[in-house]
Symmetry: C2
Subunit: 271 residues, 2 copies
């Protein structure tokens, strides 16, 4: 099957058995495949242009026939030299999409090599450490908020998978811009902080901890946020320079983990 | 089929065709049915005990056989006089559940009558108005955060459905505690504010709007949050006493709507 688009005849892939399409589907559905192949997928025009703009390692782009007509013109302006472009049928686009109203633009990217935490940390930087955070929507929202308020880096330790389609989608492009250190060992994180003179603040629900309102976050600071249900393990909180709490005046004393992280990051970057 | 529990023989419902089970399933899946019958559903032990504790109008409770064994003892301490209790088979519990790991406790509740906004507003209160907010997760998170920071009431105008299972679940019980005014007309809201001397603050992305950091929120105040994609309509923002913006120092100038609402509520209740 061939399609004439922009004056060029391009072959249109209609089968799920095409090797690139098969690869996309495997990466879209399987954490194990993403890990083994060190690749992940993106869906949606805006997310993919953000990835290209931020020099993410985009390897293949798929357009449905309709989407090629609509979007390929604006994408050709950016450097797509190393990106393999494929046209798929509109029907196949619906099959491989994870959204209700697919735009028909899909990409396969390489997971970037891990960054060295020690050499990247700035001694006057503001950081967030997420330890055992499990909800993809929360992780995405924290990355997006960190990007907005101007946090210098996000350190992940035993969290849910950064490159799952749900996390990447909910960061709204911030995953490509933010300085993210994935898969860190929590003890090594504390060593790096010590070496750089960065103070660590454990976010806890504890009336004896320092009130977020009065906490000064002088110099390099990192706030640690724990798991949605259990918070930070005691032994991790105890290793921090200080404990900080969001004193609340309402009927309950807990917030969603992403909301708690957002309010603390807001206060941290306001001092 | 009969089951001996706590010394009493109770008949165990095994069929989806049981009228109560059919009602539960209709209410669980259909917004139209919830609206027509003015009822909604709850799932999970914690959520249901919260509903009972806050005097929500719980009409029927379903336990699976296993859940009855585990939970019914603690529930009998509270007033269940007017609540019809049914036992369903474990298999049926899996069928009607919306969660991956069902606890086996379900309830049907009546939607409470609408509250009168004008007579409930306090002239020194702190309120949040959500206008055209569409994401159930965002609505739930805002209600939970409002309950934690001590907001006096949430006013909903043209939002997604409050009584959908997803919204109710994500409020973590705060929907039963918070003062929520559903289905309000935005013009009537402004009239009520005027009458009570409550100042209204439109949350906008606009560098000329007042910086949230310096905004004093003196006296009765209400912040207005708009739709996830489009924000507040200009004509609604223009009707407000003032416009307020979250000035951000990072790479992007937008936050998720729930996060923006959370940060503003945090600042409002801190002044």
């Amino acid at each position: 099957m061939f399609s004439k688009k922009s004056g060029v005849f391009l072959s249109v892939i209609t089968s799920k058995d095409n090797p690139s399409v098969k690869l996309y589907m495997k990466l879209s559905s399987s954490k194990k495949e993403r890990k083994n192949l060190s690749m992940y997928v993106l869906e949606g025009y805006r997310l993919i242009t953000d990835a290209i703009k931020e020099n993410s390692l985009v390897r293949q782009i798929f357009f449905t026939e309709d989407a090629y007509e609509k979007y390929s013109g604006s994408l050709s302006q950016v450097d797509l030299k190393e990106v393999k472009t494929l046209i798929i049928s509109n029907e196949l686009g619906i099959k491989i999409s994870c959204t209700e109203k697919p735009q028909g633009v899909f990409a396969i990217c390489s997971i970037p090599p891990e960054k060295n935490l020690k050499s990247s940390l700035k001694s006057d930087g503001r950081y967030v450490v997420l330890h055992q955070l499990q909800d993809p929507g929360n992780l995405g929202m924290i990355i997006r908020t960190a990007d907005a308020v101007g946090i210098d880096g996000i350190i992940l330790s035993q969290c849910c998978e950064l490159y799952s389609p749900k996390v990447i989608r909910s960061t709204m492009g911030s995953a490509f811009r933010m300085n993210i250190f994935d898969g860190c060992d929590i003890d090594s994180v504390f060593s790096c902080f010590k070496e750089k003179g960065i103070s660590s603040y454990a976010a806890v629900i504890d009336k004896d901890a320092e009130d977020l309102r009065t906490c000064s976050f002088n110099g390099g600071s990192a706030v640690l946020i724990g798991n949605e249900g259990n918070g930070l393990p005691v032994q991790v909180a105890d290793k921090c320079t200080q404990k900080v709490t969001i004193k609340m005046t309402g009927h309950i004393n807990s917030l969603n983990a992403a909301m708690a992280a957002g309010i603390i990051m807001w206060e941290m970057t306001n001092k």
